[in-house]
Structure formats: structure tokens, C-alpha cells
């Protein structure tokens, strides 16, 4: 079996969907952070696959940008999570309900 662009797209779509659903249904902030990472990596896979198929480097360059920014995002996300944990002693999203309406 030859691996075509479609296979890459399917894998990346699955990864993206898992991440997407993870953000929506998981209740632990850390798991949500990981789900977001999954989404971003699905994007990277897409970009690289397309880049290869189109014989164009831009996609790979973009994916490096995405990786860099994902690192920054993770740093901030973890910092905020820790700050939340310090106050609530939990990572459960259901506990984030100080404001209502």
C-alpha cells in the first residue's frame, strides 16, 4: 500500500477531532491543555504533508512557527493552571464558576 496525501489528512483530521472533542468534554485543565496541543500538532502534520505534496517549503516554515508559538502557549497555559490550582486546590473546570449569568 502506498501512503498518499489522503492518509496524512485522515490522520491529522483524527488527531484534530480528538483534540477538539477533548477540549469540549474533558474536565481537567491539564488534559484540556494536552488536547489543544493535539490540535496544533494535527495542523503541523497537515502543513508538512501539503508542503511535501506541493513541493513548497512555506508549509514547513509555518509549522516551525506553530511549534514555537505552541511552546509559548503551553508555558502560559501551565502558568495560569498553576495559579488556578493555588487558589482552588483542584484542576477541575467545574470549579471555575465564580462568575455566573
Amino acid at each position: 500500500m502506498t501512503i498518499t496525501i489522503n492518509h496524512y489528512l485522515i490522520v491529522s483530521f483524527l488527531l484534530f477531532s480528538i483534540g477538539f472533542l477533548g477540549v469540549l468534554v474533558r474536565r481537567n485543565f491539564l488534559t484540556i491543555l494536552m488536547s489543544i496541543e493535539l490540535m496544533l500538532n494535527a495542523v503541523n502534520l497537515n502543513l508538512i504533508a501539503f508542503s511535501r505534496r506541493l513541493s513548497d517549503l512555506t508549509g514547513q516554515v509555518f509549522s516551525i512557527f506553530v511549534i514555537t508559538i505552541a511552546a509559548g502557549e503551553a508555558a502560559i497555559g501551565l502558568a495560569l493552571t498553576i495559579s488556578f490550582f493555588r487558589q482552588k486546590k483542584t484542576l477541575d473546570v467545574e470549579e471555575a464558576h465564580t462568575m455566573q449569568g
Partner: protein, 483 residues
């Protein structure tokens, strides 16, 4: 794609580079000074924004700006300049409105101003972004700084919670946006918007492309807080420090509209029929939900959060109107008006907040007319403008948006917008009634020069655009994007 640096590139990048440098300087000073000399830092931040503004004005006069730089990723057309001016305006207003608030908070002010300036840099790049990569990076620079700003009161559970919610939904929407970008890239292999436009002009509809466009739309709709991506807004607005809320309600939205306009007006114009329908539905839902939910609020910050959701719905009429230039003009003038009136209204809340989170309920506006007539009158002006009553800036903005929608064949949506404007009168005038018709605490209002200046600028802007709009409309006319 040719890629080379020229001396003129540095020239055109001067505002962004300068603002970045000042942000770094403030960050360094913050480490050195801690919780002292905050007035000086505020002053420094103000001056930085002012000089950046001067640099933008200088760049505007340079002939070099005719050609895009950085391999076509960065353009300084009139459209970009308009948004840069708007971004710097909201930045300057935020810095001024923050001084007292930040000074009273137990956290170092330098960090705050540095984050604000970094977020500003991101927005400046967004205004000029002409390439999917540069747009994305700029967007993230703005967003990452904003997440931290929302959580600036790190010991306040409300603030942390706001930041965390903002972060998760923001990162989530970035992921969605990115996935869309990758699909659009896959359709043609180009990242530059003009190239993309050229490519798509001859492309046929493909499912992958449509999915990409819709995901990009969804990601951007989140940034402007449109329904159903609005869930973050009320909590973030309520939980964040009020100057930050004021900033969120204008700055990031303005910048998001800049890229929304560039991407959808330039690159995706051909498929207007496909995404237009989605935008119409989202706009309708946003107006209805924003206004109806605002009716039910008793917290003014939350009420204004829903009102700003509703306003995003009105502004989407302009996106729909992208069939003609009117859509573009509508967004530009509306955002200008919105910056003045919405920021002004938020500044009045800051004025009323003696400390922390006090002074946010509608009843805190009780008897404001007795305490300070000018404050009450000015607040009334902002409310009238938000409701779109002439002769105020909000009216001119709505005028353009409604015209754009009708020209694009969405008369039903314009009617809905008008009906919803009528609904919005209910809650805007609840504040008006509280200010003028009821008795409240007799305490005198304590203002500062900075706050008074912000309110004055907003009031003058709101009134002048409403009464003598001509010069502003002349500027608008020059801000057309080529496609």
C-alpha cells in the same frame, strides 16, 4: 517568492520595532523597580505609545510604503494605517485609564504596561499582515499577552479564572483557525493574501477549501466574540481588571476585524455566497443573544460585555457587506466610533470603582447626576452613541453598516438589527435612568487627570464623528483594499 531585506524595511517597521523595544525596557524596569515609581512607568508607556503614533504618522508620509516588505508579508497601505491609528488610540486610552487602577493594585505595574505594549505590537502587525503566517504570528502575540493581562490580578480568583477561560477558549480557537489555514494552504500552496486571491479567483469550490474557509471564519469569529463563540466574553470581561476589560472590548476586536477584513475581503471574496450565509446567521444570532442577555444583567461590566457581543453582531453586517466597499467602510467607521464610545463607557466604570471590584452594579450609577453632572452627561452620550441615536458617532457607524447590509441584499438582517437596537435601548437607558432619576450615595467622585483626559477624548470623539463626520469619511474613502 523572493525574500530580501532592504534598508527601507526597517523604516517601515519603525513603529513596531520601537514599541517592542519600549515594552522590553518597561519589563526590565519593572524588575528593577518592583512596586515603586509606577507613575513614571505609566508616563513612559504613554510616551511610548505617543511616539509610536508619531512614527506611524511619519511612515504614512513615506513613498516606500507603496511596496509590501518582508516578502509581501507586511503592507503599510491606508487600511493598515487606519487600523494602526485605531490600535494606538485604544492602547493610549488604556494606559491612561490604567494608571490609577494599576497603582492601587498590589502587583508590579511595569509588567502590566509591558504586556499591554506587546499586545499592541501584535495588533500593529495584525493591521499590516498580508500573509497567513504573519497574520497568525501577530494574532498569537496579541492573544498570549492578553491572556496574561486578564489574569493580572493573580491573587483574585475571579481574575485567574477569567484568564484561564480566556486562554483555553483562545487557544482552542487558534487551533481551529490554524487547521483552517492549513487546509487553505493545501488548496494552493500559497500563504500571501494577494497570491491566494489570484489563485482562488480561478479555483473551483472544493470541500476541503470550503471547510478551510469556514474554520478560519470560526476562529476569527471567536476573536470578535460572535455567537456561538461568545461564551468567554462575559466571564472574561467581568473577571479581568476593568481597564483590561475596556482594552479587550476594543483593541483585540479591532485588530481581529482588520485581519477578518483582509482575509475575507481580499482573498475569499469569490466565495462570498458560501460564507456570507453563515455570517448572516451568526450576525443575527449574535445581535439577538447579545441584546437579550444584556437585558438580564445587573452587573454593568457584564451588561457591557453582552452589549459588546451585540455590537460584534452589528459589525458583522459590514463583513456581509463585503460585496461592495461599503462593508469595509462600515467596519472602519463603526470600529472608530465603537472605540470611543465603548472605551468611554468602561472608563466611567473605572471612575466609579473606588477599589477592587466595587462599583460595577447598575445601582452604583444611582444618582450619578447629583454627584457629578459632567460624568453623567458624558455617560449618557456614550449610551446614546452605543444605542445608535443621532447625532453621535454610533449613529454614523450604524448608518454605514445598515447601508452595507442592504446593498449586499440583506435587508432582513438590517431590520433585525434595528429591532435589536430598539431592545438595546432598554438596558442602556436603565443606566441612564439610574444616573438621572434615582438618588444615590452623595459622595463626591474622585477623578484623576489621566481618567478625565480619557473620558474627554472619548466624549469629543463620539460627538465630533457624529456631528461633523465629513473629514472621517474622507479618510475612509482612501482606505479601500484592492482585490
Amino acid at each position: 517568492m523572493t525574500f530580501a531585506f532592504h534598508a527601507s524595511d526597517w523604516l517601515l517597521l519603525a513603529p513596531e520595532l520601537f514599541l517592542t523595544a519600549m515594552g522590553l525596557l518597561l519589563l526590565g524596569l519593572s524588575v528593577a523597580l518592583g512596586k515603586t515609581k509606577e507613575d513614571f512607568l505609566a508616563f513612559l508607556a504613554t510616551v511610548s505609545v505617543g511616539i509610536t503614533g508619531a512614527l506611524v504618522a511619519f511612515v504614512a508620509t513615506r513613498p516606500e510604503r507603496a511596496t509590501p516588505i518582508l516578502g509581501g508579508a507586511f503592507v503599510v497601505d491606508n487600511f493598515a494605517l487606519f487600523f494602526k491609528a485605531l490600535v494606538l488610540l485604544s492602547l493610549a486610552l488604556t494606559v491612561l485609564a490604567s494608571a490609577r487602577y494599576v497603582g492601587a493594585a498590589p502587583y508590579p505595574g511595569g509588567e502590566y504596561y509591558a504586556l499591554l505594549l506587546f499586545s499592541g505590537v501584535g495588533m500593529l502587525f495584525m493591521a499590516s499582515g498580508n500573509n497567513l503566517i504573519s497574520i497568525y504570528v501577530a494574532l498569537e502575540l496579541m492573544a498570549l499577552s492578553s491572556y496574561v493581562l486578564a489574569g493580572y490580578f493573580k491573587a483574585e480568583p475571579k481574575s485567574t479564572e477569567a484568564a484561564l477561560k480566556y486562554f483555553i477558549l483562545g487557544a482552542f480557537s487558534s487551533g481551529v483557525l490554524l487547521y483552517g489555514l492549513s487546509l487553505v494552504y493545501g488548496a494552493g500552496g500559497v500563504m500571501g493574501l494577494p497570491e491566494l486571491a489570484k489563485l482562488l479567483a480561478s479555483a473551483s469550490r472544493s470541500n476541503l477549501l470550503m471547510l478551510g474557509i469556514l474554520l478560519i471564519l470560526a476562529g476569527l469569529l471567536f476573536k470578535i466574540a460572535a455567537v456561538p463563540f461568545h461564551v468567554w466574553t462575559p466571564d472574561v470581561y467581568e473577571g479581568s481588571p476593568t481597564p483590561v476589560t475596556a482594552f479587550f472590548s476594543v483593541g483585540p476586536k479591532v485588530a481581529a476585524y482588520a485581519i477578518l477584513a483582509r482575509i475575507f475581503y481580499v482573498a475569499f471574496a469569490k466565495f462570498h455566497a458560501d460564507w456570507g450565509f453563515v455570517v448572516a446567521l451568526v450576525s443575527a444570532a449574535t445581535m439577538v443573544l447579545g441584546n437579550v442577555a444584556a437585558l438580564l444583567q445587573s452587573n454593568v461590566k457584564r451588561m457591557l460585555a453582552y452589549s459588546s457581543i451585540a455590537n460584534a453582531g452589528y459589525a458583522l453586517l459590514g463583513v456581509l457587506g463585503f460585496r461592495t466597499e461599503w462593508g469595509l467602510w462600515g467596519i472602519l467607521i463603526y470600529l472608530l466610533a465603537y472605540t470611543f464610545m465603548n472605551f468611554g463607557a468602561f472608563t466611567l466604570i473605572i471612575l466609579l470603582e473606588s477599589k477592587g471590584y466595587a462599583g460595577e452594579s447598575v445601582s452604583d450609577f444611582n444618582g450619578l447626576a447629583k454627584r457629578s453632572m459632567p460624568a453623567a452627561v458624558v455617560m449618557l452620550l456614550f449610551l446614546l452613541s452605543l444605542a445608535g441615536i443621532p447625532p453621535t458617532a454610533g449613529f454614523i457607524g450604524k448608518y454605514y453598516l445598515f447601508t452595507a447590509a442592504m446593498k449586499a441584499g440583506y435587508a432582513w438582517l438590517a431590520i433585525l438589527a434595528v429591532v435589536m437596537s430598539a431592545v438595546s435601548l432598554f438596558y442602556y437607558f436603565r443606566i441612564a435612568a439610574a444616573m438621572f432619576f434615582t438618588e444615590g450615595s452623595p459622595a463626591k467622585l474622585k477623578s484623576s487627570y489621566a481618567l478625565s483626559a480619557v473620558i474627554a477624548v472619548c466624549a469629543v470623539g463620539t460627538l465630533v464623528i457624529g456631528v461633523v463626520p465629513q473629514p472621517f469619511l474622507e479618510v475612509l474613502k482612501s482606505c479601500v483594499l484592492g482585490r
